[in-house]
């Protein structure tokens, strides 16, 4: 009998089937890898299991009994603990209190037993082999340490099912080794670990069972030993790359953007590159390599400490996003929900935001101009919405992404920096976004494409730049840019990982 069984779980968001009739079982004392591309439905499934969202259909069984997990607390009570990619910590509290928040050990007088709490936290931290103590304020911890703190939290509860969503994204190799040892220890204790990762080496090293999801559907659940990496990839993708990345041939023109020796102390250094008209240049690298930081500094969000930029032959000093927009440079941020859109406002309010003068007559905003602007982009980008007056919050993630794109296109930029433009959107929308990007380049727009998805970079780019540890380490032509070459450069190793 499985610890947890999913029976026909389905969940839709505004017409998009995020999870479609998924059934499989998770056994106690195993590591169960959940793999699939972005948008395959992994996160939605995790949210269903942890009670954050309710499925439209289907049942969950624990120890063979049907259960309804109405909220996070219920999941906790059932021994289901999730570690999210974004650690949910209390920055103002100490490590020990973070571990025991909401369930402090108590003395006989029912007061907080600080000593016992810190001793217990210390024991767990030592088991994890981390280099911070229970009294450390969490504000002082970096992302990797916060991740380890999340694990400590899970260890301190008697979790039966631990869900780890990309736990190694920000960890160093040493920390990854520690984590793996911990996961194996948990398995020996009889804990079921659901392990979500894009890194197939990790899946191979750790998993007993692999479940593959694609486009919200359950594709396969099999013992890890029976599946090679190649097979897993084939099951995950299930279609050829070209269909997903419809690259139009564009005429590459003159250099329109020139960065020379850009640096920001402690973040990146000596970044030099050119962009040509109509060119899509991919910027690859691992999370934390400094790609987003470079983009933010070019766009004038963060200060530059050194280096020169030329746009269309004239020097440009990035003082503010406003100044950048005036020179025809736009940036579509990675965190579109926070930086790119005003959620409670309508599509037309959002698309006109950066170009208010264009929709103003005699000093007054003209709603009709705003609406026609919004309609133009809704059509061009095939945004699925009832009208330009629809509130952005009510749109699906992919459509929100397109609204952000429309907002920047309204400014009629000549150079567009896209940061993870398809992060977290479903496959259909992704192809749509790719088609749009490719089309824009064919019309003469210059695009710098930041993406952590290698196939996206390879499929879309005319040229690939690779960053590692705040430095530009490689520049590859479309012909030379293979998966192996890019990963080697990004990881700084001779042989492909």
């Amino acid at each position: 009998m499985s610890l947890l069984e999913l029976h026909g779980i389905s969940k839709s968001y505004g017409g998009v089937r995020a999870v479609d009739d998924v059934s499989f079982g998770i056994e106690a004392g195993t590591v169960h890898a959940l793999v699939g591309e972005n948008g395959a439905g992994k996160s939605t499934l995790v949210k269903v299991i942890t009670g954050v969202i309710q499925p439209d259909a289907g049942e969950l069984h624990i120890d063979g009994e049907p259960v309804s997990i109405g909220d996070a607390q219920t999941a906790h009570r059932l021994g289901i603990v999730a570690m999210y990619q974004e650690p949910t910590v209390f920055p103002d509290l100490s490590v020990a209190e973070n571990v025991f928040a909401g369930r402090h050990p108590r003395s006989r007088l029912h007061t907080v037993a600080w000593r016992a709490m810190e001793d217990e936290a210390m024991r767990i931290l030592r088991e994890l082999g981390v280099d911070f103590g229970p009294g450390t304020p969490v504000r002082g911890l970096g992302v990797a340490d916060r991740q380890l703190l999340e694990i400590a939290k899970a260890l301190s509860t008697n979790a039966r099912l631990l869900i780890m969503d990309e736990p190694t994204a920000a960890l160093s190799p040493h920390e990854v080794d520690n984590l793996f040892a911990t996961v194996r220890k948990l398995r020996e204790r009889g804990v079921a670990v659901v392990y979500i990762s894009h890194r197939l080496e990790e899946v191979g090293a750790l998993a007993d069972t692999v479940t593959v999801l694609r486009d919200g559907r359950h594709i396969e659940t099999r013992p890890a030993g029976e599946l090679s990496h190649g097979e897993i990839i084939r099951l995950m993708v299930g279609r050829s790359l070209d269909a997903l990345f419809p690259k139009e041939e564009a005429e590459i023109g003159d250099v329109v953007f020139k960065a020379d020796g850009l640096s920001r102390r402690g973040v990146f250094a000596d970044i030099s590159f050119d962009l040509r008209r109509g060119e899509i240049v991919g910027l690859a690298g691992f999370v934390g390599a400094g790609r987003t930081e470079v983009a933010r500094s070019i766009f004038g969000v963060d200060p530059l400490d050194g280096g020169r930029i030329e746009i269309e032959g004239r020097p440009f000093r990035p003082r503010s996003p406003r100044a950048a927009l005036r020179r025809g440079l736009a940036y579509l941020p990675e965190d579109r929900l926070h930086e790119g859109l005003v959620q409670p406002m309508s599509i037309s309010d959002n698309t006109s935001m950066a170009v208010l003068p264009a929709v103003t007559a005699a000093g007054f905003l003209r709603p009709r101009l705003e609406r026609s602007l919004a309609r133009r982009f809704m059509q061009q980008l095939s945004i699925k919405a009832t009208s330009p007056a629809q509130v952005v919050r009510s749109l699906s993630g992919g459509n929100q992404q397109k609204v952000v794109l429309g907002k920047w296109l309204a400014a009629e930029p000549r150079i567009l920096i896209l940061d993870e433009p398809t992060h977290g959107v479903d496959v259909g929308t992704k192809a749509d976004v790719h088609r749009t990007i490719s089309h824009l380049a064919a019309q003469g727009l210059t695009i710098l494409l930041i993406s952590s998805e290698l196939p996206e970079i390879l499929g879309m780019s005319d040229r690939v730049l690779v960053m590692r540890e705040g430095r530009l380490v490689a520049e590859l032509s479309r012909a030379d840019a293979t998966q192996e070459n890019v990963i080697q450069a990004a990881a700084g190793v001779q042989e492909a990982a």
Binding site: A101, H110, T111, L125, T136, G140, L141, E201, G266, R468
Partner: protein, 348 residues
């Protein structure tokens, strides 16, 4: 023990920054005391210090409750109205029933505060009205009820029994009674925040409300508790206020919430919740009251007091921002150092 690799890690820096605020206030206090000692003749007299102590005491009592609320990332603007209303009810009770024991009157005052605090708590935690709006409304509503009860009349000192009037002036063990009460409230408040599990939740809720929910903390109940405690202490504050300023009308303690919130903010409680200590708040209250007292002695206009309070808030918050930024820069440097000393794990 865990081995310390570097001499001063950013984490320890962060720990040190926690104490920075208290030290900063003590330094500011020293400067202020020295300044007024030179400039104002009567500043360094025992009677003046007792005057300051009595004024500080009422602020501290109410500020401890306000601290609970602000720690949860909320705010209670209605404390001035609660002090006024409960203080007036104390005086009215004693004026009409001079025989009632003072302890009973104090309990009535606190009970009134509990009731009013509960209203605030329910509006914020159950009706989900943002605290700044909910308590702005109750500030006006409580004051309106107050005006209705007074009916335009006031109560003066000679309507009140002597045993009540002598309370504020009495000095058990040579220390003003009000100050004793404030010390007891502050010590209990500090101990509660440190040792009582549900009070630790105030910090968690204010620090990261989502994470608090994930951790299974009953946030709504905790927020109601914080508002009820704030109301109760404002009720106690009203009782003390009536004994110190026994002439009460419908405008009693108007604007008192601003003094309280100034003390709390200068005392280093983060207005976005999650951090702050009672020690800091007490020091903040002492600093504000000392400056206010010194200005009075120098016969400066009331305007200058208000001006200076505003100035102090800006200075305190600016220093906070500066320290936080320094800290984050230190952290970033550390992260980069780590990254370049070890190859980053592959992600693809």
């Amino acid at each position: 023990m865990i081995t310390r690799v570097r001499a001063m890690k950013p984490q320890e820096l962060a720990a040190a920054a926690f104490r920075l605020r208290e030290i900063g206030i003590v330094l500011a206090l020293l400067v202020v005391v020295v300044f007024f000692s030179i400039r104002a003749d009567n500043f360094l007299t025992a009677s003046n210090w007792q005057d300051i102590a009595q004024n500080v005491s009422i602020v501290v009592v109410v500020a401890v409750g306000e601290t609970f609320v602000i720690l949860t990332r909320n705010i209670d603007l209605s404390v001035g109205s609660i002090v006024g209303l409960s203080g007036y009810l104390v005086a009215a009770t004693l004026a009409h029933h001079p025989g009632v024991p003072i302890e009973v009157v104090a309990l009535i005052s606190i009970a009134v505060g509990v009731g009013l605090g509960l209203v605030n708590g329910l509006l914020v935690a159950v009706a989900r009205i943002p605290a700044i709006i909910a308590t702005l409304a109750t500030l006006a509503i409580f004051r309106g009820i107050h005006a209705e009860i007074t009916g335009g009349k006031n109560i003066t000192a000679y309507q009140l029994p002597d045993r009540f009037l002598s309370l504020a002036a009495s000095k058990p063990l040579g220390f003003p009674a009000l100050a004793w009460i404030a010390v007891v409230v502050a010590v209990i408040g500090a101990a509660t925040l440190r040792f009582v599990p549900w009070a630790r939740d105030f910090y968690a809720i204010g620090s990261n409300p989502d994470a608090a929910r994930f951790a299974g903390i009953a946030a709504a109940r905790r927020v109601i508790t914080a508002f009820v405690l704030s109301g109760a202490l404002a009720g106690l504050g009203g009782f003390l206020f009536a004994s110190r300023f026994p002439t009460l009308d419908s405008g009693a303690a108007t604007g008192f919430e601003l003094t309280v919130i100034t003390a709390v903010v200068i005392g280093g409680v983060n207005v976005f919740g999650g951090s702050g200590t009672i020690l800091g708040v007490v020091l903040g209250a002492v600093l504000v009251a000392t400056i206010s007292n010194g200005f009075t002695l120098l016969r400066l206009d009331e305007f200058w007091k208000i001006f200076f309070n505003g100035f102090a808030i800006v200075a305190a918050v600016a220093i906070d921002a500066l320290v936080t930024r320094r800290l984050q820069e230190a952290l970033r440097r550390r992260r980069v150092a780590l990254v370049s000393s070890q190859p980053q794990a592959a992600e693809a």
